[in-house]
């Protein structure tokens, strides 16, 4: 289902604290929803530790494959915040304090408190544009097709809002859901597979869940083509209705 007008993305979450389980990531789900809304297709997510080679390798692998890479984490003032330097290394460019970034930090920090650690937050790879944020003022940045953001959710969200006008967006993926209550996946799988084959420009998925012993399965139909979506959706609904009727008679 790929065409040249597709805008794709990957998310790179950087942080030992996610891998240790200490922090439960909330940014992946938020960014996934956000990109869906603006017609950018999220295709892959990676979570890597605060280790330079890991960040460099992941950034280089992902930026070659997708239209955009969004990174979160590791742009604070402490020694374990190495994302900016790692991204500069990935791009093979230098890194130094950006005057506008220093300016932004000084709107919130007194000059006598702008110590070496805090100045690290103004280190921006050469060639990058700043991505400002109204929550904490320390900026993220965008270099090439890589958007580098904070890990703290409220700050990341502000950065995402700030950078969005600069992004190419695509045709929005449309999505509809059919509730298949009390019909087990095994009963509709064959019919669903046939519908999926009939509509190659739709993506059809089945998502089971169990609540108190009852099936609450959801069938999700997605497409960028509204007509195909409507037709596939009608077929799915008809199939499920028929199965429910058969099971009521049985």
């Amino acid at each position: 289902m790929s065409d040249k007008t597709e805008i794709t993305a990957s998310v790179l979450v950087i942080g030992d604290e996610i891998l240790s389980g200490r922090t439960k990531d909330k940014n992946i789900g938020y960014i996934a929803d956000y990109l869906m809304q603006i017609g950018i297709d999220l295709r892959e997510v990676r979570i890597v530790p605060d280790v330079e080679q890991e960040i460099v390798d992941a950034v280089n692998a992902l930026r070659a494959r997708y239209t955009y890479v969004f990174t979160t984490g590791g742009i604070g003032p402490t020694h374990d915040d190495i994302t900016a330097d790692s991204v500069a290394k990935a791009f093979g460019v230098g890194i130094s304090e950006h005057p506008r970034a220093i300016e932004l930090l000084l709107t919130r920090i007194k000059p006598e408190d702008l110590n070496e650690a805090r100045r690290r937050m103004a280190r921006i790879p050469h060639g990058a544009e700043l991505v400002e944020n109204r929550v904490s003022t320390a900026p993220g940045f965008m270099i090439g097709n890589v958007v580098v953001m904070a890990g703290v959710p409220s700050i990341m969200q502000a950065m995402l809002d700030n950078v969005t006008p600069r992004l190419k967006t695509g045709v929005k993926m449309l999505m509809e859901t059919v509730q298949a209550d009390s019909v087990p996946e095994g009963a509709y799988a064959a019919g669903l597979g046939a519908i999926a084959e009939k509509y190659p420009d739709c993506s059809i998925g089945s998502y089971p869940s169990f609540t108190t012993g009852k099936f609450m399965n959801q069938i999700v139909v997605r497409s960028k083509n509204a007509d195909s979506l409507a037709a596939a959706l009608a077929d799915v609904r008809a199939m499920i209705d028929e199965l429910i009727a058969e099971r009521a008679k049985a």
Copy 2:
């Protein structure tokens, strides 16, 4: 901080529904906590779509790098459940119905309801061992160093419990937290970096959060060496106490 006795892992989450934002993954955080408890170091996580080549490439990349790979998702009966076939392809082995898997399905499904779709859940790569689960009975499997599990959290958790006795486990990572309330990262970053350098077998991270305008930063010290951890922890606490005292006088 690597040594030959380290047992490492990666998690591969398979599913369009995570990338679309429709489902918010809960398995990554659960598995991260779980592995931490049994001394296995989670080093990388990837989320890929229900696309064969993506799954094959990710499985092959990850199984070469880490002691174990844990996959979630895509082992149900519908057409979009392609994980078992993809993993077989990654290993270059065949795949067919496993007699014990059929047996397990029949403990819950009447023979006349065991249709072609449900039989798909008994397709197990050749050479794999089953990973049984007491919640839904359709088994996961383990082949080589790859553990393939369900996406539904309760089923995945049962599979993880079932497979754990078969895993090599390592020295547990010890972890202590120092609360650095009302002390901003920028104030302790330099001192923290110095402590990190002093204890190379400790990993020290700083995790900021904002609640109603107040800093509630947490410093986390991790190590497999209890003595180093205790010493580093004492240094961190002393440093923070000193900063709090200085700031109270100022």
